[in-house]
Symmetry: C2
Amino acid sequence: MGLTKTHMFTDKQNELAKIAKVLAHPARVAILEYISRQDACICTDLVDIIGLSQPTISQHLNEIKKIGLLKGNYEGKNLCYCINQERWEELQQTFHLFFSNINRNCC
Amino acid sequence: MGLTKTHMFTDKQNELAKIAKVLAHPARVAILEYISRQDACICTDLVDIIGLSQPTISQHLNEIKKIGLLKGNYEGKNLCYCINQERWEELQQTFHLFFSNINRNCC
DNA sequence: ACATATCATCGTAATATTGCAATATTAAAA
DNA sequence: TTTTAATATTGCAATATTACGATGATATGT
């Protein structure tokens, strides 16, 4: 087994889970925090800032890119990444909605 | 390897990642949605509602319990679960803060 | 006491994730 | 063109996650 049965759930449930999975690693949280607080695109080595190896950082960036949170392209030799703000706000709204729907419970 | 290097990150980053990891599976999202929308404690078999086996549901519930989102105890033979509302609002705030900190970027 | 229902735990198989060394690619600089 | 710097890809080892059958524990009902 070890295979998530996505077909058993709604698109929204799978979508939220997919986004959460990207946030489910402290390195990716750290990367997002760092990039989102910059005034400009980052064209620097996250490697030094985060402290993981270059291939590892590259892979984490790729995971973040997959859910559309990063915008950017090559600016000469270096990469130029920044947050895709529209997508960022979309995800913010997704989590907001998830957490908003709660009834008064007992216990 | 395969071992997350938690010591390299801040407590807040690790905490957010830990919470996100719980939300990173559609079954757990579905379970939380279901429980949070009930008027009362659930004393029923999530097994039928979600559609996974009883041991699997039990494990997922346990993951959710670990981050304090569930409150409940045995009520006779059956379990009585509901959302821990204080914790729920705490996590809501955690995500809200994470998504609120963003600067205007370029690109 | 015994059967039944409900939930937890154990063991195990399949798959996914994490991290890095080695290597490849890409584009500027010399 | 060759070198250099930055990022991506590949391959692999270690670990984690997902799922379920079998079994165990506990409480209710007969």
